[in-house]
């Protein structure tokens, strides 16, 4: 590790540049992390506004506010923005901020590429959002963009959508490469793999998933592009292609993608619960193995999204069994979290509240996932609001709550100030009520038979849709509390010491708060 020390000695010592150029040209992992997080929050609000437009239209039966065509653009854009614009960049932002601090590295391994990974994103999303104002409207074929609705029958703006997806893919792949290289090559002396904090482990596995599947997404949109403009027939039955092929290739990407959005969340929660239970994480090794097995299984379950396309019986059974198997490692994780709390000495600061809500609500999402895995029952659930309830439970009180927990947990480390605990708790409780009021009734409407992605519905679904819409507005507007809280914390507040919390584990807590612009210039010694 001498070499690492020497590299660092060559690093010039300087503070951040002045003005806007600091943000455009920065190669500092903390600056880039901050950019990612703010970008992701902006996208979260944008996608959220679209969700509120959807929920407002669905408040009552009948068409009130928006046309069905525009409604479809809203559902599509909401999905794409939340997946690629809000959740993924938020995790990359947290990774940028925390990975070097957690492994004892001075920065990410590839700082210039890091800058590029981020700055691609605003352009990609500007391009994607601009399609809404184009002739024929924006993408209206759902975030899963099934062919031929997204090829032969797509609005002309689909080409811009494809290019935007390519740019997001490049950004994610570069980000993932950076993460892998940082974790594998930049660890402080003594930081062996099995000593890595779980957030680092889950991100390492996530990064490998990203490298494996983002190119497949790029491939599938490239095939679409060729079908639309160059006369190929990958997905067009007329030329010997097959629309079902699209779904296979898409979900080969899509299923690992949903784990990309949840594994880092597992990592965050595995950091937070031990801190506030004042007890070491139960079953560290089994957590690592469980994460790895979930990642592996994610490659062989994709067709459970396609149980109704007419897969032969044997295929159907295989994908059903493989999917059910995922419950095992996921269960192990939940049991480990509960065992960590058991006989601990718990306190309930805001990060812990979000982490506990994560454990409960993510598990509910896991249960509905298990129900969906049962192929014969899935024939009833498939493409109904039951599915919408399921994936929102794992993504909103799952991934999003974990991100918020992480932000509350590390905010004092980033800013040097404690956030306002009362405001944090208010934010948590309103979000918690809002989220459940929005998504729990969706289970009922789904079981009662309401298909997803419809702008208007039959009268028997009216009651719970109204509840869900009210919940959505509560949840949506409560995020402004979060915005106010973060801005207030940046501008001032009680000074946070290096440790921030009572005896938290990890290298990040050995640095002063706020973490200096250049940290671990001398690699720390890990015992």
């Amino acid at each position: 590790m001498n070499t690492l020390t020497r590299t660092i000695e060559h690093t010039e010592q300087h503070g951040p540049a002045e003005g806007l150029s600091r943000w455009f040209f920065t190669t500092n992992h903390k600056d880039i992390g901050t950019l990612y997080l703010w970008f992701s929050f902006a996208m979260f609000l944008t996608g959220g506004c679209m969700a509120l437009m959807i929920r407002a239209e669905l408040f009552q039966p009948g068409l009130q506010l928006i046309e069905p065509g525009f409604f479809n653009q809203m559902t599509t854009m909401h999905g794409l923005i939340m997946v690629f614009g809000a959740v993924m960049p938020a995790f990359v932002g947290l990774a940028n901020w925390m990975l070097p601090l957690m492994v004892g590295a001075p920065d990410m391994a590839l700082p210039r590429m890091n800058n590029w990974s981020f700055w691609i994103l605003p352009f990609a999303f500007a391009m994607m959002l601009s399609t809404l104002f184009m002739e024929g409207g924006g993408p209206n074929f759902g975030w899963t963009f099934y062919a031929p609705l997204s090829t032969t029958y797509a609005p002309p703006s689909v080409t811009f959508f494809i290019f935007a997806v390519h740019m997001m893919g490049i950004s994610s792949i570069m980000g993932a490469i950076n993460v892998v290289v940082t974790i594998l090559n930049m660890r402080a002396p003594g930081m062996t793999m099995m000593k890595l904090p779980l957030f680092v482990w889950t991100w390492l596995i996530t990064a490998f998933l990203l490298i494996a599947v983002m190119p497949v997404l790029a491939g599938v949109v490239t095939m679409m592009l060729m079908d639309i403009h160059f006369g190929t027939s990958f997905f067009n039955a007329a030329g010997g292609g097959d629309p079902v092929l699209f779904q296979h290739v898409f979900w080969f990407f899509g299923h690992p993608e949903v784990y990309i959005m949840i594994l880092p969340a597992f990592g965050i929660v595995s950091e937070i619960i031990p801190t506030f239970a004042r007890k070491r994480l139960f079953g560290y090794a089994s957590m690592v193995y469980a994460t790895a097995s979930i990642a592996f299984l994610s490659f062989i379950v994709w067709a459970h999204h396609m149980f109704t396309v007419g897969i032969p019986l044997m295929g159907e059974l295989f994908f059903m069994f493989a999917t059910m198997l995922i419950a095992v490692p996921t269960g192990v994780k939940v049991f480990n979290w509960v065992a960590t709390m058991f006989r601990g000495s718990m306190t309930f600061e805001t990060p812990m509240l979000f982490a506990l809500a994560f454990v409960v609500l993510f598990t509910i999402g896991g249960f509905s996932g298990l129900m969906l895995a049962i192929a014969p029952a899935d024939f009833q659930y498939h493409d109904t609001y039951f599915v919408v309830a399921h994936f929102h439970y794992v993504l909103v009180p799952g991934a999003v709550f974990a991100i918020m927990a992480g932000v509350y947990y590390w905010l004092p480390k980033w800013t040097g100030h404690y956030y306002n605990e009362t405001l944090g708790k208010v934010h948590f409780w309103i979000s918690f009520i809002g989220v459940n009021l929005t998504f729990f009734p969706m289970h009922f409407i789904g079981l009662a038979g309401m298909p997803r992605r419809i702008p208007d519905y039959a009268l028997q679904f009216a009651d719970f849709n109204m509840v869900a819409s009210v919940g959505a507005f509560i949840f949506g507007f409560s995020q402004l509390i979060f915005l106010v809280l973060v801005i207030k914390t940046i501008r001032g507040g009680d000074r946070a010491p290096a440790q921030v919390w009572e005896h938290p584990q990890g290298l990040e807590w050995t640095l002063p708060s706020p973490a200096p612009y250049h940290s671990f210039v001398e690699p720390p010694e890990v015992k």
Partner: protein, 373 residues
């Protein structure tokens, strides 16, 4: 404060609309043997989940209440236990196997479509269904009949709002009916919850599904795969009739179809064509071109004052009958009868201030439909 206000609002809103019944919580049990099996599976897995949840959340909340710092709890030091970890890996595994057995059995039954007595080809179109009875010479389209005024909140909504069609699918009770599901444009999905049948309709390929409904009745479903603008407006209605009534229905429908074909030779007056045309326009065309003929965006052009509606009549007939490739305009040749086509084209040429003044005879259309063979 705001929460309370929102709740109040919610309470008021739901109280003010007693017409919206039920607050239905669970999946309907359905009416077929398969749907009962599916419902039972659904309930078994649900209760298993509830049991696991009670145990896991029970331990969790017990810890939250008892092992909190404010109650003086001191953290213990344990952080692994191989035996416990092995147990909680194996136990879920065994539960899953127990789940997989009945699921597999049901799935095998669902896939066995042999020995069907009635075969019906179901074709999804943007945004309607077509039913063809194989070997029976019966072929019709089934589209939404909910009036635009109800959708636009200009009239009170009926009980079966958005779940009503002009021509329901009719099947005999107590007979195994096989559906051959396909699509003519994008992917759709044919779903009737009461039968637990959901099958994707994929352009170029056929999929099989089957049902056997013991009880006569009317069952409703919807398209379950996003298929474009009016995905929410293509319901499925299945009328299950006792065998005798079904046989009579077959005879009547064949006769009606023959009558429609024969009607192609009649000559209708301008007024008759216009009256019929308005009616046909509102069910078949208004979803895209709008009731007022103003169209919708660039994809669905206005007909009022359009070059086609005011121009050469042959070209106008051609685009309605044969569609226009590469656009959203479908071929209506198979969807509408010669009389309906003649009427609707006449309507388009003479409504909303389009004053061409000419009319189309059903015979002209019939000739086009058949060719000159």
């Amino acid at each position: 404060m705001r929460v309370a206000a929102q709740f109040l609002l919610l309470a008021l809103a739901s109280g003010a609309s007693p017409a919206y019944a039920d607050w239905q919580l669970n999946m309907p049990r359905g009416v077929t043997e398969i749907s009962h099996a599916v419902f039972d599976l659904h309930m078994i897995i649900f209760w298993i989940c509830v049991a696991i949840a009670v145990v896991v959340f029970g331990v969790m909340f017990w810890s939250i209440f008892h092992h909190r710092k404010s109650r003086g709890a001191r953290a213990e030091n344990f952080h692994e236990n191989t035996l416990v970890e092995v147990i909680w890996t194996l136990v879920p595994f065994v539960i899953l196997i127990g789940m997989a057995v009945p699921a597999t059995a049901t799935l095998v039954k669902m896939y066995d479509s042999s020995d069907a007595e009635v075969d019906i080809q179901v074709t999804g179109y943007q945004w309607k269904w077509r039913y063809q009875y194989l070997g029976e010479d019966i072929d019709f389209f089934s589209s939404l009949t909910t009036p635009r005024e109800q959708i636009n909140n200009e009239a009170p909504k009926d009980e079966n709002y958005l779940l009503e069609v002009d021509n329901p699918l009719v099947i005999p009770a107590g007979k195994k009916v096989r559906f051959l599901v396909t699509a003519a444009d994008v992917i759709h999905s044919w779903w009737v919850p009461a039968f637990a049948v959901k099958k994707d309709a994929i352009p170029g390929f056929i999929n099989e599904a089957w049902t056997n409904v013991p009880e006569p009745g009317i069952y409703r479903g919807q398209c379950a795969e996003l298929c474009g603008k009016d995905h929410g407006f293509m319901p499925i209605v299945v009328e299950v009739k006792p065998q005798a009534e079904y046989d009579q229905w077959l005879v009547d429908t064949r006769a009606a179809q023959a009558a429609t074909a024969a009607a192609a030779s009649q000559v209708l007056s301008m007024d008759e064509l216009m009256a019929k045309g308005e009616q046909v326009y509102n069910t078949a065309c208004a979803a895209c071109h709008q009731t007022n003929g103003q169209g919708l965006g660039s994809v669905f052009p206005a007909l009022k004052g359009s070059k086609i509606a005011l121009g050469d009549i042959e070209a106008h007939i051609d685009i309605v009958v044969n569609g226009k490739a590469g656009t959203a305009m479908q071929a209506f040749k198979d969807q509408l009868s010669a009389v309906d086509l003649a009427a609707v084209i006449t309507w388009e040429r003479n409504a909303w201030g389009n004053n061409v003044g000419d009319k189309v005879d059903p015979a002209t259309i019939q000739k086009l439909k058949e060719g000159t063979e």
